[in-house]
Symmetry: C2
Subunit: 422 residues, 2 copies
């Protein structure tokens, strides 16, 4: 037995590897050229020189080969990039955690730079004792840790009128999933003392838009968090440094960033962001409001329009994400034929309530075209609907809360297109 | 009710805020100057101008205010920075996930740049069908998702001879915790077909050191993964891009990076990394070997030498990490008096097997000095020992597997020092 880079014994078996190449059936099935592969039989440059030292990057970045895995925006989508959106590259990610560096952003007046020294959080309104907290104050309250998805209410919104944005990143990428650490909002409200007539909580950010949103006191006292940390480290500037609201299961617009004020009132404020925006315009011209919860949804992230099948038929990994603002994902079904037949996918890793859940289905692709779909089921028994089922009820005026089933048309050449099935 | 930045009503209650300042007992207790705080009463620059656009940073980085939260190395610790280690800033992190950007690195010949096109993984030795996989091949095998801590066997090693490195980052920072996605090694071994006489698996990296390590076939077939993704995105270069071994619960040196070869043998290779290194030199001069598992351990991350108490007495959050290579953390106790009295801490978030677990204890600090300690208990019933209990058995020759209880001396002025208690 030897560990020399190129040993006689190693050359010995490599002849059989060449033969074995075609024999890979259960998993990898690449047609490999016969004969030894120099990439493994010969000593490579990177095996005969030193790599980077440990002091090369005190804080590291992705390797240059992954430079395509970035947030992307669509310039024509909104009027100004400081009041716009970008999209998480969910087609290129795996597992359930979204790194902050490529987690989608939605700003109403841009991402502001607010230091911990300048940060103040005011609690006022119908409370016994109005308070102003410094950041240092907040660090002295008991902390909790929770993982939650944050989805923009308009995620998939372009799909109401039919597939308009090509690529999983654009159609469903206004979502991210992080592990947050912070103070339960309940503790801050209890510190101030909510008066009996206090029924609603209104949250404002320190940015110019303020992005004020109202929520019932019950939610504020339940699982809402004033978060400082995401995925273990401080919130990034664009995600609300130094503190933001985390509102598990509810639309992203309510996750107020650069948090500045929590006001307790006897009614909802009916601010711009919860009247002319973030309400669902129905066919009869009336706005459906208080649509806070993001209903159960799923999407196949690979294969998808940005991730065509390059390896031809045979073993194929179908990977996707499922989530529900109402609880835990209990099952995800996948269809290869546009919803005629369904088979259950594997849940990989944790299925936490109100958090992204990863599913996988391993198939042996026959090389013929497919209409890939997934549908999520949560622990309330809710089944993700089709887009047409949603349109029947909500019409086409609305851009919010489209949790309809997404269809990817996989062609025989492996290319994938965003389509709808009648 | 108004949302103007400075409303009459707002000025109204701020008078009471000033009074309320001193009344904060349950949580924040900062002595605040009397009178309105202009940081919240006056319109600030960041509330009257635009911030960054969504296209400002396609892949984001930490805000400049957090530039101190980085990996750090100790130059005198090893001979060369390409064969050295750096330390995770665990004193500044929260929750359980470690971002890749500040997760500690250990290299034996530096971090190499290996593209997916150049990557090959060979499986050979006592197998029916020796194989060479391309990266594309690996992507066609069923995937799993798991969260695991990776701890260098030498983490805390300087503590054998007494506290020698000041700061939680340096004493216990050779650890990180990520969510991995990849292929169970079992599936690759089954693809090659392990012969009956195959009892050990030997893993090699593509870097110059190769860092070869042996493990029993049972472990390889159990929970070992060939991982491509960490925290949702591709592995970073310094963490083994494009593929590394994940060996849950076992010492970090076995988590071979830039994976190149998996060989099946009838015995352990007894390579350099598992004989002259990564074995425990006992008092009688003999080396204790096959000390793969990282036993249950914990450390208080804040307060700690790099995180003194600046706010004086009153409400204090004690935060720390616990983990066990044998299973799940079931309890963490904290002592304020050097181990005389113990009280149970809160487990915050998940307590996953073989993964970092966050604990918190909220106390009302009387302003007197403390000897802070934590001790972890896992679901095997194992109790984290004291350093002296370990020394009694293993002596002082060894630098590996020190999971002894760490003591922080908190002084009356809030400064913290790494000490030992007799």
């Amino acid at each position: 037995m030897t560990d020399e880079p190129v040993s006689p014994s190693r050359r010995g078996f490599l002849r059989s590897t060449a033969l074995a190449g075609a024999g890979l059936v259960a998993g990898a099935a690449s047609a490999r050229a016969a004969g030894p592969d120099p990439k493994i039989t010969e000593v490579q440059d990177w095996a005969s020189s030193f790599g980077d030292a440990v002091d090369a990057a005190p804080y590291g970045s992705p390797i240059r080969f992954e430079s395509h895995v970035v947030r992307r925006n669509v310039e024509w989508l909104t009027e100004s990039p400081v009041s716009s959106i970008n999209f998480t590259p969910i087609h290129a990610l795996e597992g359930t955690i979204t790194p902050q560096g490529c987690a989608f952003e939605r700003h109403h007046s841009g991402a502001i730079e607010l230091s911990k020294q300048d940060f103040r959080l005011m609690i006022n309104g119908l409370v016994e004792k109005p308070l102003v907290f410094t950041f240092e104050d907040l660090l002295r309250f008991p902390r909790s840790v929770t993982t939650a998805f944050c989805e923009c209410a308009a995620n998939g919104g372009m799909e109401w009128g039919g597939a308009q944005l090509e690529g999983c990143q654009y159609t469903q990428g206004m979502i991210h999933n992080m592990e947050y650490t912070g103070v339960p909002l309940r503790l801050l409200l209890e510190e101030a003392g909510v008066n009996p007539e206090g029924k609603w909580v209104y949250a404002e950010g320190a940015d110019a838009s303020s992005n004020g949103r109202s929520m019932p006191l019950e939610k504020a006292m339940d699982d809402v968090m004033v978060a400082f940390f995401a995925n273990g480290e401080a919130l990034r500037k664009e995600h609300g440094y130094p503190a933001r609201l985390v509102v598990p299961g509810w639309e992203g617009n309510m996750w107020v960033k650069w948090l500045r004020r929590i006001a307790v009132y006897d009614q909802a404020v009916e601010s711009r962001e919860e009247t002319s925006k973030y309400t669902d315009l129905m066919p009869d011209g009336r706005a459906r409001k208080w649509t806070w919860v993001m209903d159960a949804k799923s999407v196949i992230t690979s294969p998808s329009p940005q991730v065509p099948i390059r390896h031809g038929k045979g073993a194929l990994v179908i990977s996707g994400l499922a989530w529900s603002g109402n609880g835990r994902i209990t099952r995800v079904d996948v269809s290869l034929d546009g919803g005629v037949n369904w088979q259950p996918a594997r849940i990989s890793g944790d299925a936490k309530p109100k958090a992204l859940t990863r599913f996988h289905l391993d198939i042996n692709w026959n090389g013929e075209e497919m209409l890939l779909q997934s549908r999520a089921i949560d622990d309330t028994g809710y089944l993700q609907p089709t887009k047409d089922e949603l349109r029947e009820i909500r019409g086409l005026n609305n851009v919010y809360h489209n949790n309809g089933i997404q269809t990817w048309w996989v062609k025989a050449d492996g290319e994938v297109e965003n389509v709808e099935v009648a």
